[in-house]
């Protein structure tokens, strides 16, 4: 059932020119935001965070195949910077998130994106449950969840994939194969012939595509979405790319990534190759590039500013555990506020 998508990267059939340009714009923004997040960590203004570098075509290509009004994205942790299509809130909140601000997990009604997930693969059962709930409630649309190559080794991936198959859940399981799980390469992660081939275990289609090509990603996700919303069930997609940055701001990949491999991967940097493709098609030039970068910078700066300006209550942790805090929590909160010299909470 596993197939390798062979659509040529030069035939973006169903995407209009303007969309191709928007996709590159969002990819640029993702990279800019990711770089900025790295810098913020180095300046002590943000915590550990994970760069998107190398996966921009996957995130943005997938986003353009989805309908932000009806579909949900359940991310791992690298993808939020590339989900501009799901609303500007996503970037704003993501910046708060990496700064360790408690509002960072909130997306207002209408922004159909969950916050980052650190506990690997635990988002996959959740995505399947959300898709199941959509089906039960006859809601339109589908759910797409991202997870890494490493995350496919967790029981959650298999349990969820198997259940998705049984339920014909309208869900797209998207494996972002960036070749590495921190220091662990694919061949130490599994002996399966591909991550897509694991779909066999669920009795669902598995598709392996070039994850550096947003058009290939777009088509694969569009096809999977079509299956999902028509009731034909889930699809497992493997997008093959290469992690172009350290695992996170806390990682030193020179200890384990072969320099040659990385150099080769850089030649296929999606920001370079897709730009070249659009340039060749007459859809992009240096001027557009400068504009896109400037626009991205501005959006990112605005998000950082908003995050910096969002007030913070030291006892925020007591809110939103339960709809109403327990008496014990009320007591603890009062103790905390007293200790910090604050008034009792309203």
């Amino acid at each position: 059932m596993t197939t390798t998508d062979s659509r040529s990267r030069n035939s973006p059939r169903e995407l209009a020119d303007a969309e191709l340009q928007d996709i590159l714009g969002d990819m640029i923004q993702a990279r800019v935001a990711s770089d900025r997040a790295f810098a913020l960590q180095r300046q002590g203004r943000a915590g550990t965070n994970a760069q998107v570098d190398g996966s921009e075509a996957i995130v943005v290509g997938a986003a353009y195949a989805l309908d932000p009004a009806t579909d949900w994205v359940v991310p791992q942790y690298r993808e939020l910077v590339g989900l501009q299509r799901f609303g500007s809130e996503v970037l704003d909140r993501y910046v708060m998130y990496i700064k360790g601000h408690p509002n960072g997990g909130f997306h207002p009604e209408g922004t159909n994106v969950l916050p980052p997930q650190i506990s690997l693969a635990t988002q996959i059962p959740k995505a399947v449950g959300m898709a199941w709930g959509k089906k039960l409630q006859n809601e339109p649309g589908c759910v797409l969840t991202f997870f890494g190559d490493g995350s496919t080794s967790e029981g959650d991936f298999y349990e969820a994939g198997n259940l998705a198959g049984v339920l014909d859940a309208p869900v797209i399981l998207f494996c972002v194969n960036n070749q590495w799980a921190i220091s662990t390469p694919n061949h130490e992660q599994t002996r399966a012939s591909s991550f897509a081939s694991k779909a066999e275990a669920f009795g669902i289609p598995g598709v392996r595509i070039d994850g550096t090509d947003p058009v290939a990603v777009f088509h694969a996700v569009a096809d999977a979405r079509e299956r999902a919303v028509s009731g034909a069930g889930p699809t497992l997609i493997e997008g093959v790319t290469y992690r172009l940055a350290p695992h996170t701001t806390a990682d030193d990949p020179t200890r384990y990534v072969p320099a040659d491999d990385l150099a080769k991967a850089r030649e296929r940097d999606p920001l370079v190759t897709f730009r070249a493709m659009l340039v060749e098609a007459g859809l992009w030039d240096d001027e557009r590039q400068r504009e896109a970068e400037a626009a991205a910078d501005e959006r990112v700066e605005a998000a950082v500013r908003r995050a910096d300006e969002t007030p913070l209550a030291p006892d925020h942790g007591f809110t939103n555990v339960f709809a109403e805090p327990t008496p014990r929590m009320v007591r603890q909160r009062a103790e905390m506020r007293r200790h910090l010299g604050l008034e009792d909470p309203r």
Binding site: K126, M130, W132, L136, Q137, E159, L163, T319
Partner: protein, 336 residues
């Protein structure tokens, strides 16, 4: 400390019937309620707790799941995020370990992590408890491990009426509730269950028998053991209060403090092993709230610090009326 119900009448039932009856009612009341788990649908559950639900509500609302506790809980979180009201069953609480990452990391945190955007209005039903010769991991009382996980409410009914009232409250509650059912009580515990809508609020302990020489604090099936001990002591002229906590999160700290203030002497009974069982938290709470009222150290009657044993050993492992009596007598004899 009283139930919020204003029942028209009441019907005697055992806990199992009360649970089944309540599931029927809640599914009829709210069509977002969905029941799923291993063997809950066609066979009606290994104890028949979910019997008849699929026949009444259909195969999309009462679902037999693949055998995987992790995704039973994980998908429940997703269902809740989508607006459903999931009531998954874990066939035996010991198999909740397979789902601890989803319970602790996801179920307990959906609201917290999304800063209030999404609720996990999930009620996880799971039977547990000893004395009925089940295979391993069917009996384990692990409620204190769950209570150490912030973001979970934990209901542990001891009567059929409370099984109904707490389960209805759990299902209607916007937060995740672990609803732990005592295997031994399924058929052995029977009492009048209020007809009609019956809701028991969380965090309100129940005085099962009045007394002022000593208070026995218990929850789930151990309340029954405590009650029997109190009855025996009454014939000896010893007046013992039995306080049923009903929910351990939220905890009725006031009721505990009041009982300790009145009685001065306390025995706590739990099925779990001694170390880090919920009895320790009860003792710590008494230390916080009623230290100066204590006339003797609080006695714990617990399972022991070894794995729940095989069938031939369990009667000497699970707290018995005799062990509770011995603890009460010892505590009454201690110098103030």
């Amino acid at each position: 400390m009283t139930a919020a119900a204003d029942p028209v009448g009441a019907t005697p039932m055992n806990m199992l019937s009360a649970i089944n009856h309540t599931l029927h009612r809640e599914m009829a009341r709210d069509d977002r309620v969905i029941v799923f788990g291993e063997d809950v649908a066609k066979s009606g559950g290994v104890f028949r707790a979910t019997d008849g639900l699929q026949a009444e509500f259909g195969a999309t609302r009462v679902v037999d799941m693949p055998l995987a506790e992790g995704v039973i809980i994980g998908s429940a979180v997703g269902l809740a995020a989508s607006g459903m009201v999931p009531v998954p069953e874990i066939q035996f609480l010991g198999f909740a370990y397979q789902a601890f990452h989803q319970i602790a990391g996801q179920l307990a945190r959906l609201r917290y992590r999304t800063d209030g955007r999404l609720n996990a209005a999930v009620t996880v039903r799971a039977p547990f408890g000893g004395g009925v010769r089940t295979p391993e991991l069917h009996s384990e009382a692990i409620e204190s491990q769950l209570a150490n996980i912030p973001g979970l409410k934990i209901a542990m009914p001891a009567s059929a009426a409370d099984a109904k009232g707490l389960l209805a409250t759990a299902i209607r509650d916007p937060d995740p509730v672990m609803f732990l059912e005592p295997l031994r009580g399924y058929r052995a515990v029977s009492d009048p269950v209020p007809d009609g809508d019956h809701l028991v609020p969380f965090g309100e302990a129940r005085t099962v028998s009045e007394g002022d020489d000593l208070v026995i604090i218990a929850w789930s099936y151990m309340v029954e053991i405590a009650r029997q001990a109190a009855d025996r002591l009454r014939t000896e002229g010893v007046s013992v209060q039995v306080l049923d906590l009903r929910t351990i999160v939220p905890l009725d700290v006031e009721a505990i403090a009041a009982a300790v203030e009145r009685c001065g002497r306390v025995v706590v009974v739990q099925e779990a092993p001694e170390t880090c069982g919920f009895a320790s938290e009860v003792i710590a709470t008494i230390n916080d709230e009623a230290f100066y009222s204590l006339e003797a150290p609080v006695a714990r009657v617990s399972g022991y610090d070894h794995p729940y044993p095989v069938g031939m050993l369990e009667d000497d492992y699970v707290p018995s009326v005799e062990r509770v009596l011995a603890a009460v007598r010892r505590t009454l004899e201690m110098a103030p």
